[in-house]
Symmetry: C2
Amino acid sequence: MRENPYARTREDHRSEVAEDYVELIYRLGRDRAEVRTADLVEALGVAQPTVTKTLERLQRDGLVNVHPRRRIELTAAGASLASDISERHVLIVKFLQAVGVPKEVAELDAEGIEHHVSETTQRAIARFVRGRQ
Amino acid sequence: MRENPYARTREDHRSEVAEDYVELIYRLGRDRAEVRTADLVEALGVAQPTVTKTLERLQRDGLVNVHPRRRIELTAAGASLASDISERHVLIVKFLQAVGVPKEVAELDAEGIEHHVSETTQRAIARFVRGRQ
DNA sequence: TGGTTTATATAGCCTTGGCTATATATTCGG
DNA sequence: CCGAATATATAGCCAAGGCTATATAAACCA
Ligand SMILES: [Mn+2]
Ligand SMILES: [Mn+2]
Ligand SMILES: [Mn+2]
Ligand SMILES: [Mn+2]
């Protein structure tokens, strides 16, 4: 029996916030000495209690360790997820740019698209991007 | 000041369920004499009360007219939105197929991706797809 | 036509992910 | 080192979009 596309999309969305948070923590961690709640508030554009509460869920799910009123760290699982989604993000931006989308717009769209690209599609895109360098 | 990609994605998601419902009602309406709740339940893979409640929201927002215990119709606004999103859906499937994604997988991924493709990107994709026919 | 089956509505519950207001802890400058 | 400023935590609210259980209406058919 054929998979239901709407169910797939709903499923994608259940991991979306987690993916964005760990990717962001991962990326910020390369610049700063440590990543703090305020950094995420700034980057995500949501209210501070939203970040605090979301981090609790991510901790519950084993993706981050939060040292209260101090820094936020990725667990091994969190770092692994972050590096996967980060790679996918970069690839999608390149892909969109390759077909003529301006970088700025590609970045905006990729932030949403990245959560809906299957393994199979990711491989096809990677081949395509490689093939035109 | 540069737009926040996370805010854009959150905004996209606020119209996503509406887009899928009207697109589906539109598409089903071409086969069947009339579209009923049960048809949406089947296609979406959610429980029946979920569809009933969602239709109430869509009616509140002026996208559908629900004749209780009878058929569901699109308003002019609903039909217009449906035709836009339907066109985008078809284009994305073609685009993915053009870079080597199997049709089945393209359909699955497109159902999520379609909600995150900007006007600018849609135009670029359309040019690309046209250019290789 | 009446009884059974099927479809829809209604009640009530849950989690996620938003928000504001405010309390409390940490940090920084004088 | 203390007070002000800043950052974080906590309380409490809300809407969306899921769910199950059950009541009721509509459709079918013997
Ligand atoms: Mn994202
Ligand atoms: Mn999405
Ligand atoms: Mn969709
Ligand atoms: Mn679609």
